[in-house]
Symmetry: C3
Subunit: 159 residues, 3 copies
């Protein structure tokens, strides 16, 4: 009997290109029957945001962060050569041309493959994000749960 | 008998938010009785700098680097939305509001939990940083020592 | 009989300083008889580019990316304090002064130590890079090959 292999990814970055790399590795590992967890923290939480505005009571700081941060995977910028949004358009256009699935598509695929998508509750508090603003069917947890997964992980990455 | 689990983090980044993530994971792992090492290299060394100016003989380049780099954990900028220093103020303010310990506090907590804080001697040389400028009670080592820790590590991250 | 230890690094970043960190860790691990793989993806592919222009048929987007991205390890910028190219000059100057091998030298050393240098074929397609533009004696593979190496890895890093 072979043990199930485990892959965990901390997605800290809010960059479109880094999130693509994270989700491609996650989907690849899931295809090889790894148990996969992506733990979204800090700016990585933006990948899980719904793209519409959600009316919620928030303090001033939380409103500010909410406004300044991209709403959902499709609105994130590049880590390099962002050019005020031109870069992501170029990348999306070549991705389409080469039949690479877009980031929202990669996230959907991850959910279909039972990749566990976790939102870090501590940084949600910090950035003033509430569950109503994030996608359905995700988990909520803290660093303890991440470590419990990672300590048995074969591949643990921080992206 | 169970073996002690090991966590190692290479802290390369000099960003306040990434350093917080590193130290929260490190403190979490230490609380679960992992042996934890944070290996500070390149800009990550700034987290270990004392906040006062230390008078030392240095070459021109070393002086330049010394002046341009933040002096200590409390002066570091954000990886995203730094806004000329406004971003760190906002983050610190929400951290306080949510009772999250500040970065200098997280570093202190790590030392109390016997997290091994290591300064990379090769990059100290490169950036012209001397032991007198860094915090007390830290270790000094090179890549060989890091690898010796990491090759038995359960969780190894590069941040 | 002891098993060969394995180290894998995903080099996503196109920053000179991060690439140095990646190659120093890789060379260190190879010196300790680890089997080492560096999987170059996205901007990390630039470290493998030849420094001369290679005449190739390309579409408009691919030409744009090709022009905007640095041609080879020696032309990459810093993640911090790049100062329009001044930063890399300073770092290279102090590296020379401290007898630290330059990035192109570190890559050569890695090849001599049989570190497996892999170019990610999917992101080559995305960025319009062709084999003729990259260094000799490297491997070409996708995420599946990376995962096959990483799942048995002792040290797996994403840089």
């Amino acid at each position: 009997m072979t043990e199930t292999k485990k892959t965990t990814i901390v997605l800290f970055s809010g960059d479109y290109d880094k999130a693509i790399a994270a989700y491609i590795i996650a989907n690849g590992a899931a295809a090889y029957d790894h148990e996969v967890t992506i733990f979204h923290t800090f700016w990585g939480l933006n990948a899980l945001r719904k793209d519409e505005h959600v009316e919620l009571k928030k303090g001033f700081m939380e409103k500010m962060f909410g406004k300044m941060m991209p709403r959902g995977a499709d609105k994130m910028g590049l880590s390099k050569m962002n050019f005020a949004g031109m870069g992501p358009k170029m990348i999306k256009s070549v991705m389409k041309k080469h039949n690479v699935v877009s980031l929202p598509g990669l996230i959907e695929m991850a959910q279909e493959q039972d990749v566990k998508l976790v939102a870090c509750t501590m940084t949600m508090d910090l950035l003033g994000l509430q569950k109503e603003e994030l996608m359905e069917n995700i988990d909520y947890a803290g660093v303890a749960a991440y470590l419990a997964d990672a300590e048995d992980g074969n591949v643990n990455l921080f992206i």
